[in-house]
Symmetry: C2
Subunit: 410 residues, 2 copies
C-alpha cells in the first residue's frame, strides 16, 4: 500500500479537457465542484497546500502567480487557463498567449478589471453609463474635481482595491487634500468619481465565450456593508422590467465591447435621475465568478462556476432560468471575535433550525471580516427566504441568532 | 516552486470533519462535490490514482478495501468512515469499530444489503412485503420452489450481483435444474423468489442518522433495461398518494428496523394485487447513494450525496422538497462500440441543443455497458423533460439523437 505522498502523477479524466486555474481561493474551489460534475477536474496554481481550493483538488502546483515560470508550469498541458483573481501580471499572460496557451479572459479585457481609471475611460468610450470621474495625479487634480462635483467625491485607488479597501469618501476639501497628498506620496495611483446618491446596488452578470456567445443571468440586488458584499437577492426585487432589461443588455454589451470571456460581473449603482426615475451607472467590473453570483449555485439551472468553465472552454453556455421565485445569498464573514462554539457545532445548529439552508463553506480559518462561506435560501416568499438566509449566515458567524429572530418563527 | 509530487500532507479544512470513503467510483466522486460545498473534503481509499473519485480528491490512499491494514490506514483520523459499495468484509468493519472508529452504516445493517437471502428473511420478519422466496441449496430445493410458484421463478445469487448480473429467469423446469446445478457446483450461494408480474419499478429513498432522525425523498419511478437502471422520474408519476405514502413509510421503517445509517435505497416492484390494485413489494436494498437518487442533484433541495455526508456525520438532515415539478434522470452507459466522435464533442453538441440539460460525467473510460455518466432535466411538462433527458443521454452514448428526435423539437 502506498500513501498519497508516493503518488506522482495526479490523474485527470481520460479525454476530458483540463482547466488550469491560477488562484486558490473559494472561487477556484467552487469551480472545482462544477468541473467535477462536468467530468473534468482542475489543475491549480496555489500559494499553499492548505488554501481553500488546494484542499479539494488532486492536481495542485505550489507557486507564485507573479512568477512566469510557475504560471507556465501550471498552464502546461491544459486546455484553458483562467483565474480566480485579477492579479496575474498581464505581461506574463501576453507571453503565455505568444507561446500558444489558451488564456481566458485575455489581458486586453482583464486590464479593464484591473485599473479603475482605464475601465471608466473605456466604458465612457463605448457609451456605457459611468458617474463623472477624473484621473487624480496631483493635489490640484483632486481639488479641481472636488469643486466640479461640489464635494461629492469618492476617491479610489486605481488598482488592487477589493472589498471596499482602496475607497475613500473625504468629507472636507481639506481631508481630500491630505488624502490625495499622502496616497500619491505612497505611490498609489488614484482616480476620483462623483459620489452617487445610492438607492441601492445591483449586479448584472453574463457569461461570454471566445466564439462570442453570451448568456446573462437575471439582475440581482446586492447589499454592501462596510464596502463588502453582505447579501444578494435574485432576481432584484422592485426593479421594473425595463430597467432590468437595460442592465442585462448593458452587461452583454460590455462583455462584447471589452472582449470579455468567461463570467463578467457588472456592479451597478442604482440611483435616481433628475426626474426621480430609477437610473443605473457602472461601479465595477469583475471578470470571473463573483460574490453576487453565488446564488446561482442553488437558484439557477446553470451556476456561475459551471458557466465559467463552459465559457473558458468555448463550450455552449447553459440555461440561466431560475429554479425558484427568489434566492437570497447571505455572506458569512469572520466575526470580530470568533465565537467559542466550534464552527462544526454552528453548522449543526443551523442545519437543525433551517433545514433548507444551503450552506457553502470555504475551508478557511477564521479572520475578522474574512469571507469564509455563504448561505443560499430559495422560495416564494421573499421575506421568509431572506430571514432564513440571514439567520443562517448570522449564526454561522456569531453562534447566535439575529436579534428578534425566534428559531420557531421559520 | 514545487510540483504536486513533492507535496506530502494533503490538507483538510481546519476544524471541519473528515469523512473517509472506502471506494473510488462515481458515488464517492459525487460525495466529494457535496462535501466540498459543505466545507469538508473526503479522504479516499482508492484502487488506483485514475479512478473516478481519485481524480478529484486531494487526500487519496491507494490500497485494497479487502485488506484490513489499508482500510485502517484510510480510516485513521477521520470523523466517519463510509462506503461507495457494499464489498468491504464485515469482519474488518467489526474490527475497526472495536478499535473505536466511527463506521456508518455498520455491518449489522450492511449484511442485509450484501446477502439477498438474509435481507428477505429479515424483511419478512419485520413485516415488510417481499415476494415468496426460498433458499436454494440443492437442485431439489430449486425444483420444489418451481412447483410452488408454478414456474414463475427468479433465481438469484445471494451475494455480489449488480446491474442484473446474478439474476436469472429460467423458462423451463429443466433449465432451472441445470442452472442451479452448475451454479451450486461453481460455489454460488443461491436463492429464488417468485417472478413478479411487473407494472413498473419504484425506488423509495431515505436518509437516517445514527441518532435516529430520518428524512425520505419523494418516491421515484425507475426504468430498467437489461437489469440496469436506465431512467428515473421524480416524483413517480401515476402513483396515488396512498401508495406513495406507503412506499415512503416503508423505507423509513426499514431504515429503523435494520439500523441503517446514511442513505438507504429501497428498490420496489410495482405490481397488481388480486383486485387489480397497485401493490408494492421489495426487490433490493442499497445502503449508500443510489442510481435512482441521482435526480436529487438538480431536482431537490438536498442531494443524496450531501444527505449521506450529513447522515454519516450525525448532522441534522436537509430538506428534501423538490425544486421542480418533475426531474428525469437518464443514465449514460457505454455503447456497444464507442462512437468515433470524441466524448468532448458529444458534450458540446448536447450543451448546444439542450442548454438546460444537467450533464454529470464520471471521468471514466468507455466500456460497453459501463455507467459513465447521467443527465438530469427538470421542468413542468413531464413528456418534454423526459425527451430532453433521454435525448441528451442518448447522444452522449451514441453520438446520435434518438430515432424520431428532431433537435428543433425542443
Ligand atoms: N461613486 C460612488 N458613490 C457612492 N458609493 C460608492 C461609490 N463608489 C463606491 N461606493 C461604495 O463603496 C463600495 C465599494 O466600492 P468598490 O466596489 O469600488 O470597491 P472595491 O474595493 O473594488 O469592492 P468590490 O470588492 O466589491 O469590487 C461600493 O459597493 C459602494 O457601496
Ligand atoms: N422477482 C422478480 N420478478 C420480476 N423481475 C425481477 C425480479 N427480481 C429482479 N427482477 C428484475 O431484474 C432486475 C435486476 O434485479 P436485481 O435488482 O435483483 O439485480 P441486481 O443485480 O441486484 O441489480 P441492482 O444493481 O439494480 O441492484 C430488476 O430491476 C427487475 O427488473
Amino acid at each position: 500500500m502506498s500513501g498519497v505522498n508516493e503518488v506522482e502523477h495526479p490523474a485527470h479524466a481520460p479525454g476530458a479537457p483540463i482547466v488550469t486555474v491560477i488562484g486558490d481561493g473559494q472561487l477556484a474551489r467552487m469551480m472545482q465542484t462544477a468541473a467535477i460534475e462536468l467530468g473534468c477536474s482542475l489543475r491549480l496554481l496555489a500559494g499553499s497546500r492548505d488554501a481553500s481550493a488546494a484542499q479539494v483538488c488532486a492536481d495542485v502546483l505550489l507557486g507564485d502567480f507573479r512568477n512566469l515560470a510557475s504560471v507556465r508550469e501550471a498552464a502546461a498541458g491544459s486546455d484553458a487557463i483562467t483565474f480566480d483573481h485579477e492579479h496575474v501580471p498581464n505581461e506574463h499572460l501576453d507571453e503565455l498567449i505568444a507561446e500558444g496557451f489558451n488564456v481566458q479572459p485575455q489581458p486586453e479585457a482583464l486590464i479593464f478589471a484591473q485599473d479603475k481609471l482605464l475601465m471608466r475611460k473605456k466604458l465612457r468610450e463605448v457609451g456605457a453609463p459611468v458617474p463623472p470621474f477624473a484621473a487624480i495625479e496631483s493635489v490640484d487634480d483632486g481639488l479641481a474635481f472636488w469643486d466640479a462635483v461640489e464635494g461629492q467625491v469618492c476617491l479610489k485607488a486605481r488598482r488592487g482595491g477589493y472589498d471596499g479597501k482602496g475607497v475613500w469618501f473625504p468629507g472636507q476639501r481639506e481631508e481630500l487634500r491630505e488624502l490625495v497628498s499622502s496616497l500619491l506620496e505612497a505611490g498609489t495611483p488614484l482616480m476620483a468619481e462623483k459620489k452617487v446618491a445610492l438607492r441601492g446596488e445591483l449586479s448584472a452578470m453574463v457569461a461570454r465565450t471566445p466564439s462570442g456567445a453570451t448568456q446573462p443571468w437575471p439582475v440581482v440586488a446586492s447589499v454592501q456593508e462596510n464596502g463588502v458584499c453582505a447579501q444578494a437577492t435574485a432576481p432584484a426585487p422592485g426593479i421594473d422590467a425595463e430597467l432590468r432589461r437595460r442592465a442585462e443588455t448593458l452587461s452583454i454589451d460590455i462583455a462584447r465591447e471589452l472582449g470579455v470571456t468567461g463570467v463578467l460581473a457588472v456592479e451597478l449603482f442604482l440611483s435616481e435621475d433628475e426626474n426621480g426615475q430609477a437610473d443605473i451607472s457602472i461601479n465595477e467590473l469583475a471578470m470571473r465568478p463573483h460574490n453576487t453570483g453565488h446564488w446561482t449555485q442553488d437558484g439557477c439551472i446553470t451556476s456561475q462556476f459551471e458557466q465559467h468553465i463552459r465559457a473558458v472552454l468555448d463550450l455552449p453556455l447553459g440555461a440561466t432560468n431560475t429554479t425558484a421565485p427568489y434566492t437570497v445569498m447571505a455572506n458569512v464573514l469572520g466575526a470580530e471575535r470568533d465565537p467559542s462554539m466550534p464552527m462544526a457545532d454552528r453548522v449543526a445548529k443551523v442545519m437543525h433550525v433551517v433545514p433548507d439552508a444551503k450552506i457553502h463553506l470555504y475551508g478557511k480559518q477564521h479572520r475578522p471580516g474574512r469571507k469564509i462561506g455563504h448561505v443560499n435560501a430559495c422560495g416564494e416568499d421573499l421575506e421568509s427566504v431572506r430571514r432564513r438566509a440571514q439567520a443562517a449566515a448570522h449564526f454561522l458567524r456569531h453562534a447566535q441568532w439575529p436579534e428578534g429572530f425566534a428559531p420557531e418563527s421559520l
